[in-house]
Amino acid sequence: MADVSLHGVAKSFGATEILRDINLSVEDGEFVVFVGPSGCGKSTLLRIIAGLETVSGGEIRIGSRRVNELPPADRKIAMVFQSYALYPHMNVYKNMAFGLKFAKTNKAEVDRRVRQAAEILKLTPLLDRKPRELSGGQRQRVAIGRAIVRNPSVFLFDEPLSNLDAALRVNTRLEIAKLHRDLGATMIYVTHDQVEAMTLASKIVVMNHGRIEQVGAPLELYRHPRNLFVAGFIGSPRMNFIKGQVLRLEGSNATIGFAGTEAIVNVRSGSLAAGDPVTVGIRPEHMEEGGAEATSLRGTIDAVEQLGESSYVYMRLASGDDVIVRAPGETDATPGGSYTAHVPPRALHVFDAAGVSVLAGRGEESDG
C-alpha cells in the first residue's frame, strides 16, 4: 500500500505563507498531477512529501505511516528533478547505483536493478557515459532510471519535461504514461503546463496562492470547474469571461443577461438573487458561427487566425468584451467584418460575485 495523504499541511517562511491547510489523499497507484501558476506552492508541496522541506503544521502519511519526522531516504519515495540533478562526475551506471549504495543493497542486486532499469529506458549502451556526453532526452531518462532502481512506492516528478524541446516533450510524456501503466506505482507530478496535466493525470490538483482550488479527474475539471480560477486555468485557448446580471429568478431557473443577450440556466437554489452581478463563462470551442435566433453574441472581428484544422476568431462585442471563438475548419471571417456566434445554453458556466460556480448539480460532487 502506498497511498499518500496530507492533513492540514501548512508551510511558511517567516511571515510568508506558502501553503495553508492542504488536505489531499492520493490512492495507491494513482497518477496525481499538481498544476498551477508559478509560485502557487505546488513544488513546495512536492518537496514536503519528499521530505526535502519541513512543514509548519499538519501531517503527511505515506502508506498509513506518519512520515513527518522521516528523512527522505526512509520514505520509500524517489524524485525526478526539473534540472535532472545528475551527478556530473559519475557515469550513468554510477548515477543510477548511487542511491542503492546507501540502502545497503548487495553488488549483484545493484547490478541487476541498474541493468534492468537501463533496459526499460533504452540506456544500456550509455551506461559508461558521463552526463555531459548525453542529450537532454537521455539525461531525462537517466534521471527517471535513477528513480526506478530505488523501487519506490511513490514517484515524485518536479516539472520533469520543462527543459526538453516540444517534440521530445510529447515523446517523454508518453513514456512516463507507459511507465506508470507498467509499474503501477503511485506517481505525483508537478507541472505548470495544463496539457501535461490533462494527458497524464488520473487526478488533477489545481493549486493557486498556496491553496487547493479543485481536485478531480481531468475531464471533470474541464466540464465542471468549481470556480473562475479553475475555469480559466484548464482549457486552451482560455475560457471567455463576460460580465452579466441575474435578470429573473424562477425557482432554480435563472435568466442571465450578458452582452446584449440572455440565457436560462439551472442554478443551485439560494445561490443567487435577482439583480446579482455574475460572470458568464463560455469556452471558445463551444460556440458556433451564426445562429442569430437564440442566445448569440454579435461583434466586430479584430483578428482571425487560420490553423487549417480550426480557426480562431477574435471579436469585440458591443458591450466592450473581447471574445475568442474556435471554429472548426476554415472560416470566411475577415478582420473588420461582423461576426455572430451561437452560444448553446448548456455550454454556459456561471459564477457568482465571489467567483464560485452556481450551476446546479456541479461543484459539490468534487468536495471529497
Binding site: 519528499a50 526535502l52 528523512p71 531516504a73 519515495i77 540533478a85 562526475h89 548511487f98
Partner: protein
C-alpha cells in the same frame, strides 16, 4: 572585356583590404605589452642570464656557465643555507596546505549551508586580516606573543593551557611553526572565499537528489560536494604554492633578514634577499642573487608545470 574589368576591380579591392595593417590593434596592445615586457619579462630573462656570470669588485662581469649553481648546491658556504631555506620553505608550504586550506575548506562548508543567517557578515570579518599588510600582521603577532606584554600567556592560562606557553617566536624548535601559523591566520580568507564560491556553484537540486538517494551530510560531502570542488582545490593548492615559495615580508618583518634564531625561519625569499644585498660580513652579490632567484624560478615553474600537466588535466571541470 567586361568580365575582365570586374575581376580586376575585385582583386584590386581585395588586396589592400587583406594586407592593411590593423593599426588600432597595435595601438590597443602596445602600452600593455611594452610595460609588461620591459619590467616583468625582460628582468626575469636578464636575471637568468646574470645567474651565469660572476662579478668582481670593479664591477666587471665574466661568463662562468653553471658555476654559480654548482656553488649554490655544493659549496659548503652556500649549500647548507640553500637546502635549509628550501626545507623550511617546504615545511612552510605544507603547513599552509594542511592548516590554511583545511580551515578554509571547513569555514567554506559552514558558510555555504543553506539559509545561514549572517553569512556575509562572517565572510567579511574573517576575510579582513587578508587585506592588511603582512608586515603589520607580523608586528601585531610579535606583540601578542611577546612574553613581556603577557597577553598570550594570560589568555592561555584562562583556558587552562598556561603551561604550554613559551617564547615561541624565539625558540629554534617552534619559530618556523609559529611564523607559518601567523601566515595561515592571515590568509585563511583566500581559500575560504574560493572554495565557498565553488560550493555555491553546485546546484541545490544535486544536493537534494543525494539526500533523496539516502546520503547523509557526510556522504553528501564526500561523494558529491568534494569531487565537484576538486578543480578549485587544485587552483587553491597552486596559488598557495606560488605564494609560499615567493614569501618574504612576514619573516623579514618578524625576524629580520637573518631569519633567526639560527636561520630556523629562513626561507628562499629571505635567503635571496641576503644573498643579493649581503648581511653582516658577507658582501651582497647580484650574480649569486640572480642564481638564487633563478633557482626559485625553476622551483616555482616545476610546481606550476606539475599542476598544469599532472593535476589540472585529470580534474574535469563540471558545468551544471
Amino acid at each position: 572585356m567586361t568580365d575582365l574589368t570586374a575581376s580586376q576591380i575585385h582583386s584590386a579591392d581585395a588586396v589592400p583590404a587583406r594586407s592593411r595593417f590593423p593599426v588600432h590593434i597595435a595601438v590597443f596592445l602596445a602600452p600593455a605589452l611594452a610595460i609588461y615586457t620591459l619590467f616583468s619579462i625582460y628582468p626575469l630573462i636578464d636575471t637568468i642570464r646574470l645567474s651565469l656570470y660572476t662579478g668582481d669588485e670593479t664591477g666587471a662581469r665574466s661568463f662562468v656557465g653553471l658555476q654559480n649553481f654548482q656553488t649554490l648546491l655544493s659549496d659548503s658556504n652556500w649549500s647548507g643555507q640553500f637546502w635549509n631555506a628550501f626545507r623550511n620553505n617546504l615545511i612552510f608550504f605544507l603547513i599552509h596546505m594542511v592548516v590554511q586550506n583545511g580551515i578554509g575548506l571547513g569555514l567554506a562548508m559552514l558558510l555555504s549551508l543553506p539559509r545561514l543567517t549572517g553569512g556575509s557578515v562572517y565572510r567579511t570579518l574573517i576575510f579582513l586580516p587578508t587585506m592588511l599588510s603582512v608586515v603589520i600582521i607580523g608586528f601585531i603577532w610579535q606583540l601578542i606573543l611577546n612574553p613581556l606584554w603577557g597577553i598570550a600567556p594570560s589568555l592561555l592560562k584562562a583556558v587552562g593551557l598556561g603551561s604550554l606557553f613559551g617564547p615561541w617566536l624565539g625558540q629554534e624548535s617552534t619559530a618556523l611553526l609559529t611564523v607559518s601559523l601567523i601566515s595561515v591566520w592571515q590568509f585563511v580568507g583566500i581559500p575560504m572565499m574560493l572554495i565557498y564560491a565553488a560550493l555555491l556553484n553546485i546546484p541545490d537540486d544535486l544536493l537534494d537528489a543525494a539526500t533523496v538517494d539516502g546520503a547523509g551530510p557526510f556522504s553528501v560531502f564526500w561523494f558529491v560536494r568534494l569531487p565537484l570542488i576538486l578543480p578549485t582545490l587544485g587552483v587553491v593548492s597552486i596559488l598557495t604554492f606560488v605564494a609560499n615559495f615567493n614569501a618574504f615580508d612576514l619573516i623579514y618583518a618578524i625576524k629580520g633578514a637573518l631569519a633567526g634564531p639560527n636561520f630556523s625561519t629562513d626561507i628562499l625569499g629571505t635567503f635571496f634577499y641576503r644573498t643579493f644585498f649581503g648581511f653582516q660580513l658577507q658582501v651582497g652579490s647580484p650574480t649569486m642573487g640572480a642564481a638564487v632567484a633563478t633557482a626559485m624560478l625553476i622551483i616555482i615553474l616545476l610546481g606550476v608545470l606539475i599542476y598544469l600537466f599532472g593535476v589540472q588535466r585529470r580534474l574535469q571541470r563540471h558545468t551544471f
